[in-house]
């Protein structure tokens, strides 16, 4: 992370212009519903990709269970709007609160585990939640639930909500990583023991990142199911969510803010295109990810060759 960015002013102007342009597109609906739907998906995938990147790329906590928070928030939205007839913003808010509480409780034992065991345990927890929802009469078991809203938000409004969430998550992630906490998070990723000896409260840093990522991922999940209108255990708690996050970060570039943005655009466009080849699409996406790991492990954003003098300094 560059602490003194000479292009900061230009970047800020550029990003603000893009944001205003997209906001205008969402508010007026001029690109048409189809383009806005693509945009909506891209924005949500940027958001969840960025959160996974924050967890794995910056903090070194590779979770395979982020879908737990997507499922929890999606189901909360469905229960609040359909079972109790309450407005959907309340469903989104409650989904966020429940996911934050769940993340805090999970962190009490998950953060005692490291590396591969952490990854596997997060996945098992998400699977267990999926199984639990599959057997709960309260949420119609495997039959799923619908999300109701009166009036149902149009794609333009959903796009604007996704844009606000995505922008907020990018700004917060950038601010976090540029702060002293960001230094601690990256130090913890590289060497937790040495980081702690250098004054970093590793336990607190891990917990904060995990809960923050869970909260933002949950908000993205709520918006996704608000757009979709239905939720099933296998769609809410699908490991496919995390697979897409991993793909986005690998393609774009782990440990960079820009990486998941590029990764999400490519992922949505590729998966839309490959949807016409059912059965092959996942294999092709998997092959692309493997090729990227082999030949471009630092992702598209850092594809440019590095100066030779840096390489010769290692002893």
């Amino acid at each position: 992370m560059h602490r003194n960015d000479p292009h900061k002013g230009i970047r800020t102007v550029l990003y603000t212009a893009v944001f205003l342009l997209l906001l205008a597109a969402g508010l007026t609906g001029f690109p048409g519903n189809n383009i806005l739907r693509y945009g909506f998906r891209i924005l949500l995938y940027i958001t969840i990709g960025e959160m996974w990147n924050l967890l794995s790329g910056y903090a070194g906590m590779t979770s395979l269970g982020q879908q737990a928070f997507i499922g929890l928030s999606g189901y909360t939205l469905a229960v609040v709007t359909t079972r109790y007839g309450l407005p959907y913003p309340l469903g989104i808010l409650l989904g966020l609160l429940i996911s934050l509480a769940a993340a805090f409780l999970l962190s009490l034992f998950l953060l005692r585990i490291d590396g591969m065991y952490f990854a596997i345990t997060t996945w098992v927890v998400a699977e267990a939640l999926g199984t639990l929802f599959m057997s709960m009469t309260y949420v119609n078991r495997g039959a799923g639930m619908t999300v109701t809203a009166e009036p149902y938000p149009r794609i333009g409004r959903l796009f604007v909500m996704a844009l606000l969430l995505c922008s907020l998550s990018l700004v917060l992630a950038e601010l976090l990583l540029r702060s002293g906490y960001g230094l601690g998070i990256m130090a913890m990723r590289d060497d937790p023991e040495a980081a702690e000896a250098a004054g970093v409260n590793v336990k607190l840093a891990k917990r904060a990142v995990y809960i923050f990522a869970a909260g933002v991922t949950a908000l993205a999940g709520s918006l996704f199911f608000l757009n979709k209108g239905t939720i099933y255990p296998e769609s809410g708690f699908d490991i496919g969510w995390t697979i897409s996050m991993v793909f986005i970060v690998i393609i774009g570039g782990s440990g960079t803010i820009e990486g998941p943005v590029i990764g999400a655009v490519l992922y949505v466009l590729l998966s839309e295109y490959l949807a016409r080849y059912p059965g092959w699409s996942n294999m092709i996406l998997g092959a692309i990810a493997i090729l990227m790991i082999l030949f471009c492990p630092r992702g598209i954003v850092r594809f440019s060759p590095r100066p030779k003098d840096h390489l010769t300094k290692a002893r």
């Binding site: 992370m1 602490r3 540029r178 702060s179 002293g180 230094l183 601690g184 990256m186 130090a187 990723r189 590289d190 060497d191 023991e193 040495a194 980081a195 702690e196 000896a197 250098a198 004054g199 970093v200 409260n201 590793v202 336990k203 440990g255 840096h310 390489l311 300094k313 290692a314 002893r315």
Partner: protein
Amino acid sequence: MRSGEIISFDDIKAGYGRSRILKGLSFSVREGEVFGVIGPNGCGKSTMLNVLTGTLCPSSGRLFYREKEISGLPSYKRCRLGIGRTWQIPRPFTGMTVYDNVLTGAVHGAGESVKQSREKAEKVLKETGLADKSRIPSGELTLLDRKRLELARAMASGPEVLLLDEVAAGLTEAETKEIMALVGGLRERKYTVIWIEHNIETMLKATDRLMCMADGRNVICGDPGEVMGSEIVEELYLGKD
């Protein structure tokens, strides 16, 4: 703990799993002194540092810092109290630049904001000869520069006590001279230094007192000349006739 003492080990026992390394270690370090620690391989020198920094919890005994018992304090709190360390095998944060490594020490160790810490980080980088390499990823540094970085990161955390774990290990003769010049300057900065070193000759010139450890215990401690001339040290290093 006597007045003037900054650190005190009182019958500390510690180890890894079932193997006990420290078997009742007791010693004290006076404020402002350079305290050398020698002893054969496996005698518990690095384990002693791990106990002092909180990386390893002792199974019994008490550890004091400025008359306050710190045996139960987590590692990061000990750093914030004023205990900074270097590692025998350098452990830079390899995904970060040299500057950010040092800034991390300043921000988290000294508990200051990024803004306040920048000046301090730049000053320490200059003092340790790393100023022109501050933008390089730390994983690409040479061994000598990694050792410098270890020292810089510890110094940036604003310590009162600096723990040096074999700073000269693995360096060539010329490099050792360079790092020793740096370590020599620590006394002028009024740090209390606890220094483990295999290269005894190098260390003796700069230490006020010397402790020799064997089998997890303090076997002799005092004036470096007297300790080196003692029978027990001779036996440990040269073996019995």
